[in-house]
């Protein structure tokens, strides 16, 4: 039999079920008789709170492994909630004016608060109802002699419960637990958060079907797909065991690298950023250990619609990304349309060579209203994070000067309106046209940073249309001509004191990692999932060795020798 729910923490668990039943918290309806009982009831409440706080503090101290993780934060919030003056005030009032016994008073006050949170139009806040319920249950439990929760289960156990309170998951011996499944809950429920932060496969929201699971049943739980198989046959177990092993291997690689600094063995710090298109991708990128975004493509908002997005709409879109990055830098590339990226609502002229035509900054400088609307929206969003502005397709110094003039105009308009923005926002350009790479020294005087776009740079340098099947083999970023241009741009870092990054596909190619570090590149931006792979190369590289690789490559006259050599070096 298979049960399906919401997979909230990926991974495969194979093991025996342990069904957890919690003691129900019930109202007694008993009323207090006199002032003396009222005084005793309030004292009892205060004592139960004090004991509860000690319990939670002990949980925090006993779980060293939880330090700094979500678990500790949850417990800190619980301590505050236990001692919350509003809760105490409400409980005391129920005891004093309604003569409720302390058990009932606590249950009713907690229930009322739980209802308030459950009804909130916000997934995160409604999930906080579980925290309030949890501390309420803890106080109630401590009003009467404690009932020890049975924790005697064998390693590899899969915990089955109606729902799991934060303190349940935290007080469990996590090392023995292979997975969780609950009847209720969603992606933001505590069971989900804890399971994810501890890397334990979990499925929530399985519904009443889960009741059919008995203590000791053999289960397979797939935290990715959200399915639970009860009493699987041997063949299925073998299949999932193989799936589990490959997952564990991948997980350990990713996990070991996420918080590892991207530093070479001789201490050169490399910064790894993600290329993103919206706030969801920003969030995902942080999971892979990105230190921000080196390329935020803004086209996403402009595609698949009937009209240009308004300043307000753009502002909200950029702001959402800024907030998700939690203060980490984001390089926002201004509109790069034209070429192969057409908009249904904008009439592009028919062109012989669209890639050499009316696109990106050329279009923006021509259609100033479109450009200025976007710039204002980005500037306004800069109040909510560390944004940088990057102009695409710059070929000449005059173009960047023109773009900067329009940016200045946008800034002036906002200043006149009294709208706040980051006045020290950094400005940069994509280096993707060969002329820009050649005059990098001149351009460096105009901007704060460069980002090398290797895809277009390769195509323009070698005069190869990537889309053309007949010649696509000629497209090669490892061509000595392309590499010399890249090296020239990176050299400006020291010569002209400018930040240089790379956001093209070459940045994510592990074969190029040593070579680029050897050239002096320290900022790489790529798709989030490539970050661990490239980081894995960086931590094995030394700057001295990388420089030798670079020097050797510069002696070679064709890309085949270069890629063979790099392949060998990066093994």
């Amino acid at each position: 039999m298979t049960i399906s729910g919401i997979g909230v923490s990926p991974g495969i668990a194979i093991g025996k079920a342990r069904v957890i039943k919690k003691q129900a918290v019930v109202l007694t309806g008993i009323l207090l008789l006199n002032d003396e009982e009222i005084t005793i009831a309030i004292e009892k409440f205060d004592k139960a709170v004090a004991v509860s706080v000690i319990e939670v503090e002990m949980m925090m101290n006993n779980h060293d492994a939880l330090q700094g993780s979500e678990g500790v934060e949850i417990l800190e919030a619980h301590i505050e909630l236990l001692g919350d003056p509003q809760i105490r005030e409400d409980v005391v009032e129920k005891i004093q004016t309604e003569r409720k016994n302390v058990n009932d008073a606590v249950i009713e006050v907690i229930q009322a608060a739980v209802e308030v949170f459950k009804s909130m139009d916000d997934d995160y806040m409604s999930a906080r109802a579980a925290d309030i319920e949890d501390i309420g249950n803890r106080i109630v439990k401590n009003l009467t002699p404690a009932i020890a929760i049975d924790q005697d289960y064998e390693a590899g156990t899969i915990i089955i419960a109606e729902d799991l309170a934060p303190s349940d998951t935290i007080s469990m011996d996590i090392a023995k637990i292979a997975g969780f499944a609950t009847q209720i809950g969603g992606k933001t429920s505590h069971a989900a958060i804890i399971a994810k932060s501890r890397g334990i496969p979990a499925v929530v929201g399985c519904g009443a079907d889960l009741k059919s699971v008995q203590d000791g049943d053999m289960l397979i739980l797939d935290g990715q797909s959200g399915s639970i198989i009860i009493d699987p046959d041997q063949e299925t177990i073998l299949k999932f065991e193989a799936k589990r092993d490959s997952w564990l291997k991948e997980l350990s690689l990713l996990k070991s690298l996420k918080d590892t600094p991207a530093k070479t063995i001789d201490g050169t710090e490399i910064h790894l950023f993600a290329n993103i298109a919206d706030s969801a991708e920003m969030e995902n990128a942080l999971e892979f250990g990105a230190q921000g975004s080196g390329l935020f493509r803004t086209e996403f908002l402009f595609l698949g619609r009937n009209d240009f997005p308004s300043e307000e709409e753009q502002f909200e879109f950029y702001k959402a990304v800024a907030l998700k990055a939690k203060g980490k830098p984001i390089t926002v590339r201004t509109l790069d349309i034209g070429g192969d990226k057409q908009l249904a609502y904008f009439n592009f002229p028919e062109e012989q060579n669209p890639f050499l035509g009316y696109r990106a900054i050329r279009l923006c400088l021509d259609k100033k209203d479109i450009f200025i609307t976007q710039l204002k929206a980005i500037l306004r969003a800069s109040e909510f994070g560390k944004l940088k502005i990057m102009f695409p397709m710059i070929a000449t110094v005059n173009e960047i000067r023109a773009a900067k003039a329009i940016l200045k105009e946008a800034m002036q308009t906002l200043t006149d309106q009294g709208t706040a923005f980051d006045k020290a926002i950094k400005i940069g350009i994509m280096i993707e046209i060969p002329s820009a790479a050649v005059i990098a020294d001149l351009l460096a005087k105009e901007v704060d940073f460069f980002s090398i776009g290797t895809n277009d740079l390769t195509q323009y340098t070698l005069a190869v249309d990537r889309m053309n099947e007949k010649i696509k083999d000629l497209y090669d970023p490892f061509d000595p001509g392309v590499l010399r241009l890249i090296a020239n741009v990176i050299e400006q870092r020291h010569k002209n004191h400018i930040e240089v990054g790379m956001c093209g596909e070459l940045a994510s190619d592990p074969r190029a990692t040593f070579l680029l570090i050897g050239m002096g590149l320290t900022e790489f931006s790529m798709s989030a999932s490539s970050i661990p792979v490239v980081k894995n190369k960086i931590i094995k590289a030394s700057l001295t060795e990388a420089r030798k690789v670079y020097e050797a490559v510069m002696q070679m006259d064709n890309s085949k020798d270069i890629t063979n050599y790099l392949q060998e070096k990066t093994q």
């Binding site: 919030a77 949170f117 907030l323 998700k324």
Partner: protein, 88 residues
């Protein structure tokens, strides 16, 4: 009495973590410190009350401090909303 407005700069708004930090911060001062969102004003000493405001990222709230150390309390609040909140 002093009152100041802040735009919430964290994506999730004043969720459990920043709210806990805020309650802890207020405990260092004698002043009565309240938070106001729309028509609703609650004291900053109650995590439950702060969370029930459900203040989201990008929204504006006011902080009101009243008492002998209101100036230093407001300075700490300033620092919290302008610097720390983003990282919480």
């Amino acid at each position: 009495m002093i009152s100041k407005d802040y735009i919430i700069t964290s994506a999730e708004g004043i969720h459990a973590r920043p709210a806990t930090a805020l309650v802890k911060l207020t405990k260092n001062y004698k002043s009565i410190i309240s938070i106001k969102k729309g028509e609703k004003t609650v004291k900053l000493n109650s995590l439950l009350n702060i969370l029930s405001l459900a203040a989201k990222g990008g929204e504006t709230i006011s902080i009101i401090a009243e008492g002998e150390d209101e100036n230093s309390a407001m300075e700490a609040i300033d620092q919290f909303f302008n610097e720390h909140l983003k990282d919480l």
